[in-house]
Symmetry: C2
Subunit: 119 residues, 2 copies
Protein backbone atom coordinates (compact mmCIF):
# COMPACT_ATOMS: atom_id res chain seq x y z
CA UNK A 1 0.00 0.00 0.00
CA UNK A 2 1.41 3.42 -0.89
CA UNK A 3 2.14 5.55 2.16
CA UNK A 4 0.26 8.84 2.33
CA UNK A 5 1.20 11.29 5.11
CA UNK A 6 -2.43 12.51 5.10
CA UNK A 7 -3.51 9.15 6.57
CA UNK A 8 -1.71 9.74 9.87
CA UNK A 9 -3.73 10.89 12.87
CA UNK A 10 -2.55 14.36 13.75
CA UNK A 11 -3.41 16.20 16.95
CA UNK A 12 -5.46 19.40 17.11
CA UNK A 13 -2.35 21.35 16.05
CA UNK A 14 -1.83 19.08 13.04
CA UNK A 15 1.21 17.34 14.55
CA UNK A 16 2.45 13.86 15.44
CA UNK A 17 5.40 13.10 17.71
CA UNK A 18 8.42 11.49 16.06
CA UNK A 19 11.02 9.49 18.00
CA UNK A 20 14.50 9.64 16.47
CA UNK A 21 16.55 6.52 17.17
CA UNK A 22 20.16 5.88 16.18
CA UNK A 23 19.83 3.20 13.48
CA UNK A 24 23.06 1.50 14.53
CA UNK A 25 23.30 1.76 18.32
CA UNK A 26 19.56 1.84 19.04
CA UNK A 27 19.98 4.86 21.31
CA UNK A 28 16.88 7.06 21.51
CA UNK A 29 18.18 10.50 20.57
CA UNK A 30 15.23 12.88 20.73
CA UNK A 31 11.51 13.35 20.25
CA UNK A 32 10.13 16.21 18.15
CA UNK A 33 7.04 16.95 16.09
CA UNK A 34 6.07 16.70 12.44
CA UNK A 35 3.11 17.91 10.43
CA UNK A 36 2.06 16.21 7.19
CA UNK A 37 4.33 18.43 5.09
CA UNK A 38 7.32 17.71 7.33
CA UNK A 39 6.68 13.97 7.00
CA UNK A 40 6.57 14.33 3.21
CA UNK A 41 9.76 16.42 3.13
CA UNK A 42 11.56 13.94 5.38
CA UNK A 43 10.73 11.10 2.99
CA UNK A 44 11.51 13.11 -0.15
CA UNK A 45 14.82 14.55 1.01
CA UNK A 46 16.12 11.88 3.37
CA UNK A 47 16.90 14.69 5.82
CA UNK A 48 14.77 14.49 8.93
CA UNK A 49 12.55 17.55 8.98
CA UNK A 50 10.46 18.50 11.97
CA UNK A 51 7.97 21.25 12.61
CA UNK A 52 9.28 23.67 15.21
CA UNK A 53 6.38 24.56 17.48
CA UNK A 54 8.26 27.50 18.99
CA UNK A 55 9.30 29.00 15.65
CA UNK A 56 6.23 27.79 13.70
CA UNK A 57 8.53 26.78 10.86
CA UNK A 58 10.09 23.72 9.27
CA UNK A 59 13.16 22.55 11.14
CA UNK A 60 15.60 20.61 8.98
CA UNK A 61 17.62 18.96 11.70
CA UNK A 62 21.24 20.11 11.44
CA UNK A 63 20.54 22.93 8.98
CA UNK A 64 21.94 25.53 11.36
CA UNK A 65 23.94 23.34 13.78
CA UNK A 66 25.55 21.14 11.13
CA UNK A 67 24.46 18.10 13.14
CA UNK A 68 22.54 16.49 10.33
CA UNK A 69 20.08 13.68 10.82
CA UNK A 70 19.81 11.39 7.81
CA UNK A 71 16.75 9.18 7.53
CA UNK A 72 17.45 5.47 7.36
CA UNK A 73 13.85 4.33 7.75
CA UNK A 74 10.54 5.83 8.85
CA UNK A 75 8.09 3.69 10.81
CA UNK A 76 4.46 4.29 11.74
CA UNK A 77 2.82 2.98 14.90
CA UNK A 78 -0.33 0.86 15.14
CA UNK A 79 -2.55 3.86 15.88
CA UNK A 80 -0.92 5.93 13.13
CA UNK A 81 -0.46 8.79 15.59
CA UNK A 82 3.26 8.44 16.25
CA UNK A 83 6.39 7.99 14.13
CA UNK A 84 9.76 6.34 14.68
CA UNK A 85 12.64 7.58 12.56
CA UNK A 86 15.72 5.39 12.39
CA UNK A 87 18.52 7.83 11.68
CA UNK A 88 22.17 8.43 11.11
CA UNK A 89 23.00 11.30 13.43
CA UNK A 90 26.11 13.43 12.93
CA UNK A 91 27.44 14.46 16.33
CA UNK A 92 25.04 15.54 19.06
CA UNK A 93 21.28 15.40 18.56
CA UNK A 94 20.62 17.56 21.62
CA UNK A 95 20.89 21.37 21.69
CA UNK A 96 23.00 20.97 24.85
CA UNK A 97 25.59 19.28 22.61
CA UNK A 98 24.92 15.87 24.08
CA UNK A 99 24.40 12.86 21.87
CA UNK A 100 20.88 12.27 23.23
CA UNK A 101 18.30 14.59 24.78
CA UNK A 102 17.52 11.89 27.36
CA UNK A 103 20.62 12.41 29.49
CA UNK A 104 18.81 12.75 32.82
CA UNK A 105 17.82 9.62 34.71
CA UNK A 106 15.66 9.31 37.80
CA UNK A 107 17.42 7.01 40.25
CA UNK A 108 16.19 6.48 43.82
CA UNK A 109 14.15 9.68 43.50
CA UNK A 110 17.10 11.80 42.41
CA UNK A 111 17.94 13.30 39.01
CA UNK A 112 21.25 11.94 37.73
CA UNK A 113 23.05 13.39 34.70
CA UNK A 114 24.28 10.51 32.53
CA UNK A 115 26.36 12.27 29.89
CA UNK A 116 28.31 15.44 29.30
CA UNK A 117 28.28 17.69 26.23
CA UNK A 118 30.37 16.33 23.35
CA UNK A 119 33.73 17.97 22.74
Amino acid sequence: MPFDPATLKYDAAGLVPCVAQDAVSGEVLMVAWMNAAAVARTLETGRVTYWSRSRAAFWVKGETSGHHQRLVELRVDCDRDCLLALVEQEGPACHTNRRSCFYTAVRAGEEVILSEPMA
Copy 2:
Protein backbone atom coordinates in the same frame (compact mmCIF):
# COMPACT_ATOMS: atom_id res chain seq x y z
CA MET B 1 18.40 17.06 42.93
CA PRO B 2 15.21 15.25 43.94
CA PHE B 3 12.93 14.52 41.00
CA ASP B 4 9.48 16.07 41.20
CA PRO B 5 6.92 15.10 38.51
CA ALA B 6 5.39 18.58 38.86
CA THR B 7 8.52 20.09 37.27
CA LEU B 8 7.85 18.46 33.89
CA LYS B 9 6.31 20.57 31.14
CA TYR B 10 2.91 19.12 30.40
CA ASP B 11 0.76 20.02 27.41
CA ALA B 12 -2.61 21.74 27.61
CA ALA B 13 -4.19 18.41 28.56
CA GLY B 14 -1.65 17.91 31.37
CA LEU B 15 0.22 15.16 29.53
CA VAL B 16 3.73 14.31 28.32
CA PRO B 17 4.59 11.61 25.79
CA CYS B 18 6.58 8.65 27.10
CA VAL B 19 8.65 6.39 24.83
CA ALA B 20 8.94 2.81 26.11
CA GLN B 21 12.17 1.14 25.06
CA ASP B 22 13.22 -2.46 25.73
CA ALA B 23 16.03 -2.05 28.27
CA VAL B 24 17.94 -5.02 26.88
CA SER B 25 17.43 -5.03 23.11
CA GLY B 26 16.95 -1.27 22.68
CA GLU B 27 13.83 -1.84 20.58
CA VAL B 28 11.35 1.04 20.76
CA LEU B 29 8.13 -0.64 21.82
CA MET B 30 5.47 2.08 22.04
CA VAL B 31 4.71 5.70 22.83
CA ALA B 32 1.92 6.64 25.21
CA TRP B 33 1.04 9.51 27.54
CA MET B 34 1.46 10.24 31.23
CA ASN B 35 0.13 12.94 33.51
CA ALA B 36 1.97 13.92 36.71
CA ALA B 37 0.12 11.31 38.77
CA ALA B 38 0.95 8.56 36.28
CA VAL B 39 4.63 9.54 36.40
CA ALA B 40 4.53 9.35 40.21
CA ARG B 41 2.75 5.98 40.18
CA THR B 42 5.21 4.57 37.65
CA LEU B 43 8.13 5.51 39.90
CA GLU B 44 6.44 4.33 43.10
CA THR B 45 5.22 0.99 41.81
CA GLY B 46 7.82 0.13 39.17
CA ARG B 47 4.92 -0.77 36.87
CA VAL B 48 4.70 1.57 33.92
CA THR B 49 1.46 3.49 34.24
CA TYR B 50 0.10 5.69 31.48
CA TRP B 51 -2.92 7.94 31.23
CA SER B 52 -5.37 6.59 28.70
CA ARG B 53 -6.69 9.54 26.71
CA SER B 54 -9.55 7.48 25.25
CA ARG B 55 -10.69 6.08 28.61
CA ALA B 56 -9.61 9.11 30.69
CA ALA B 57 -8.21 6.73 33.29
CA PHE B 58 -4.90 5.36 34.54
CA TRP B 59 -3.60 2.55 32.38
CA VAL B 60 -1.30 0.19 34.22
CA LYS B 61 0.32 -1.50 31.25
CA GLY B 62 -0.46 -5.21 31.33
CA GLU B 63 -3.16 -4.97 34.01
CA THR B 64 -5.79 -6.42 31.70
CA SER B 65 -3.60 -8.03 29.01
CA GLY B 66 -1.08 -9.61 31.38
CA HIS B 67 1.68 -8.10 29.26
CA HIS B 68 3.34 -6.23 32.09
CA GLN B 69 5.86 -3.50 31.59
CA ARG B 70 8.32 -3.20 34.47
CA LEU B 71 10.24 0.03 34.82
CA VAL B 72 14.02 -0.32 34.69
CA GLU B 73 14.80 3.40 34.49
CA LEU B 74 12.92 6.60 33.74
CA ARG B 75 14.68 9.37 31.82
CA VAL B 76 13.70 12.99 31.20
CA ASP B 77 14.63 14.95 28.10
CA CYS B 78 16.42 18.31 27.95
CA ASP B 79 13.18 20.28 27.58
CA ARG B 80 11.47 18.26 30.33
CA ASP B 81 8.50 17.70 28.05
CA CYS B 82 9.13 14.08 27.08
CA LEU B 83 10.02 10.87 28.94
CA LEU B 84 11.91 7.72 28.03
CA ALA B 85 11.10 4.59 30.02
CA LEU B 86 13.57 1.74 29.79
CA VAL B 87 11.44 -1.31 30.47
CA GLU B 88 11.23 -5.05 30.82
CA GLN B 89 8.28 -5.99 28.63
CA GLU B 90 6.48 -9.30 29.04
CA GLY B 91 5.33 -10.50 25.62
CA PRO B 92 3.86 -8.04 23.15
CA ALA B 93 3.69 -4.31 23.91
CA CYS B 94 1.25 -3.67 21.08
CA HIS B 95 -2.50 -4.30 21.24
CA THR B 96 -2.15 -6.13 17.91
CA ASN B 97 -0.09 -8.71 19.83
CA ARG B 98 3.14 -7.62 18.21
CA ARG B 99 6.26 -6.96 20.25
CA SER B 100 6.41 -3.32 19.11
CA CYS B 101 3.77 -0.87 17.91
CA PHE B 102 6.20 0.34 15.20
CA TYR B 103 5.79 -2.65 12.90
CA THR B 104 5.04 -0.67 9.74
CA ALA B 105 7.92 0.75 7.73
CA VAL B 106 7.80 3.12 4.78
CA ARG B 107 10.07 1.76 2.06
CA ALA B 108 10.22 3.27 -1.43
CA GLY B 109 6.88 4.95 -0.76
CA GLU B 110 5.12 1.75 0.26
CA GLU B 111 3.95 0.56 3.68
CA VAL B 112 5.70 -2.69 4.63
CA ILE B 113 4.66 -4.82 7.62
CA LEU B 114 7.79 -5.91 9.48
CA SER B 115 6.43 -8.32 12.07
CA GLU B 116 3.50 -10.60 12.73
CA PRO B 117 1.48 -11.00 15.92
CA MET B 118 3.24 -13.15 18.54
CA ALA B 119 1.94 -16.69 18.99
